[in-house]
């Protein structure tokens, strides 16, 4: 399956801003984080198609995935 991955803040350093990635069917968000070499504890905010999900979440074809380190503002 193909998913769109968007990285933000410090996760962009040495990686990318936005990219389409091909993943094996049945991959979870945790599998994607491992492929990106991002520790699960560092991926504080993970959003798939606009909804916050955890590392166990199973991904689907064409998912849009946004991954953030711990951040806040306001």
């Amino acid at each position: 399956m193909v998913v769109e991955v968007r990285l933000f803040a410090s996760f962009r350093e040495g990686r990318f801003k936005e990219k389409e990635l091909e993943l094996p069917e049945g991959s979870s968000l945790g599998d994607l984080l491992a492929q990106l070499e991002i520790a699960q504890k560092d991926a504080k905010i993970t959003i798939v198609n606009g909804s916050a999900v955890s590392a166990e979440h199973k991904l689907s074809d064409h998912d849009v995935i946004a991954i953030f380190p711990p951040i806040a503002g306001g």
């Binding site: 959003i47 711990p70 951040i71 306001g74």
Partner: protein, 598 residues
């Protein structure tokens, strides 16, 4: 008593009388300080029915017991008055260095009464307090006023709080600025200062502030600093990218209001994000007094440079106006700093005007400047300047979106609560934050209880933003704790790393108190109810606990939160009950008696 200076100033600008009064320290502790104590004095001394720009209204500029102390971020002060924008109690908070300087001069707060017959400023140099002529500064922008006052008073270490031309011209969006770039921004407090012909307050203090319990203070401050330095948000995210690191999170969550809340996802948001700001325009980070976080940005575009823009500003001038030109946003932000305008309300009012024009409700001949079209960078910069000057159609914008939309027959297009423009979150996708926005005592505001923390960011724990379960409880706790932090004189950003026990420990050690966490939060509840009572007596009742019709009746049209509306009617009864109010939203006699404010 440590923590408090123990003295406050009462300055009557009509008579020129300056009095130094002793602070009742038992009373001070009951309302903590800052927002709480100033609200107490306002409710005691000002008729809630007063016309906000009448000399009978008072302007209270107040520090908290931790302002000027070693507590991390302890540099904040609060401006409390009756708002000319909303008709509610106003309490606008600012950082920088001015608050700590006032405290070091020996004063907890200043109550400003009456109206000067000509432009004046107040000069405070430790024990010496004078009202001086401000004729030469009137009409000048904030940066030049600040530089001139520092030069003329001959003390470069003094700190300047001032209004810009917007406050002088009584713009209902006028802010009070200090240290050039920091703003007590919301609720039109700058217009109240302008209505008194008061241009500035210069403060210089050389006193030393000692904590009540030195060893305990060292220990609790060290502990708080450790938590802030070990927290990824306060030690990495905010220092590296500033508040606007939030742009992408809120946008990706589908709750980033776009084109005056007509959409909730801005496809090119990243062009205006904290990441882009850091990459292209950031000159350096800026920290306020005693702040280990340093979220402030000093940015530069060509000849335009200064602090900001912050997240809310990037939104109000950016997605809200459909603009993805960060350079234009920086320039509009600069005009707000110079004219002394609230960046949230100013940008949001331009967005409202854009929708009025889009719907053909404004005669194009009335638009004496760039076309007010969504996406126009030129429009946001020039209309901010014209708003600051109250020039042409800009004079209408300077009164805010509620009055503007009302005048053109479409009040529902003002995205405001209690006439205060809502900030950068589409609450149709964040139910708790929407409840807090509807019930905020000063109107459409995000800093009376920042439910974005648990609902989006996951601090202190992750809540489902679309669920209603438990939200009333969360809102009450966040509102009460925020009232405490505001009253202590600390920055709300500490709450990303600290909890109620940490605030209790610092207050007790520095001010020599022995409060429990429960009694500290009860003080927050007391302050909330005090503000609520002022509003009720001012004619702003529970019927104003509402949200714009669009957020209640029009589902989000696209993006991740498509189909959702805010479910306020389902949440309000539970909230009123949680507050201990009756079913109509009125504080009961028992509740007020329990809080000792009956």
């Amino acid at each position: 008593m440590a923590g408090y200076a123990g003295t406050f100033l009462r300055i009557n600008l009509s008579t020129g009388q300056i009095d130094k009064e002793s602070l009742d320290l038992e009373l001070a502790a009951k309302f903590i300080g800052g927002r709480g104590l100033a609200s107490y004095f306002l409710t005691q001394e000002v008729d809630p029915d007063v016309e906000p720009l009448d000399p009978a209204n008072k302007l209270i500029v107040a520090t908290g017991p931790l302002t000027g102390s070693r507590a991390p971020t302890g540099g904040r002060y609060m401006v409390v008055t009756k708002s000319p924008l909303s008709g509610t109690i106003a309490s606008s908070n600012s950082g920088g260095f001015w608050g700590a300087e006032l405290k070091r001069a020996g004063y907890d707060f200043i109550i400003i009464e009456g109206k000067s017959d000509k432009p004046c400023y107040i000069h405070i140099n430790d024990d010496t307090v004078e009202i001086r002529d401000a004729g030469k500064y009137w009409g000048k922008l904030v940066g030049e006023t600040t530089d001139l006052l520092l030069e003329d008073t001959g003390d470069p270490k003094a700190r300047v709080l001032t209004i810009g031309p917007a406050g002088e011209k009584l713009s209902l969006l006028a802010a009070i600025m200090n240290d050039k770039y920091r703003a007590a921004g919301r609720s039109g407090v700058g217009a109240v200062m302008g209505s008194k012909n008061l241009k500035a307050i210069v403060a210089r203090g050389t006193g030393k502030l000692k904590p009540a319990r030195e060893d305990e203070c060292k220990s609790v401050v060290k502990n708080a600093l450790k938590k802030i330095r070990e927290n990824d948000v306060t030690s990495k995210g905010l220092p590296t990218y500033g508040t606007s690191v939030l742009v992408n999170v809120i946008n990706e969550s589908g709750i980033y209001p776009t084109n005056n809340f007509q959409e909730s996802y801005f496809p090119t948001a990243d062009k205006t994000s904290g990441e882009t700001l850091a990459e292209k325009y950031l000159v350096r980070n800026v920290a306020c007094f005693a702040c280990p976080i340093a979220c402030g940005r000093y940015s530069k575009v060509g000849e335009v440079e200064g602090e900001g823009p912050e997240y809310e500003t990037i939104w109000s001038y950016g997605a809200s106006c459909g603009v993805d030109d960060l350079e234009a946003i920086i320039k509009a932000n600069n005009w707000c700093n110079e004219y002394g305008l609230d960046t949230i309300s100013a940008g949001a009012t331009i967005a409202c005007a854009m929708e009025l024009c889009q719907k053909g409700l404004v005669d194009p001949d009335e638009i004496d400047g760039p076309a007010l079209e969504f996406g126009s960078g030129e429009a946001i910069v020039e209309w901010t300047r014209k708003m600051g000057e109250s020039e042409g159609f800009g004079a209408k914008l300077a009164l805010g979106s509620a009055r503007l939309a009302e005048q053109y027959g479409a009040p529902e297009l003002s995205m405001s609560v209690k006439k205060l423009e809502l900030p950068a979150y589409d609450v149709r996708g964040i139910q708790g934050h929407g409840l807090q926005s509807a019930t905020s005592n000063r109107g459409g505001c995000h800093v009376r209880g920042y439910l974005i923390a648990p609902e989006i960011i996951g601090l202190p724990e992750k809540l489902d933003p679309l669920s209603l379960e438990g939200k009333a409880v969360w809102v009450k706790i966040f509102q009460d704790l925020t009232a405490v932090i505001d009253s202590l004189g600390l920055c709300l950003f500490t709450s990303f790393a600290l909890g109620a026990d940490d605030y209790r420990d610092m207050f007790n050690a520095i001010a020599g108190q022995d409060l429990t966490t429960e009694s500290l939060l009860q003080a927050g509840d007391r302050i909330w109810n005090l503000e609520r009572m002022f509003n009720l007596n001012a004619g702003v009742g529970p019927e104003q606990d509402k949200l714009p019709r669009r957020l209640l009746a029009e589902p989000i049209s696209s993006g991740p939160c498509k189909g959702h509306v805010h479910r306020l009617p389902e949440l309000l009864p539970e909230y009123y009950k949680e507050r201990g109010w009756d079913e109509k939203g009125l504080p009961t006699e028992e509740k007020l008696a329990q809080l000792e404010i009956a």
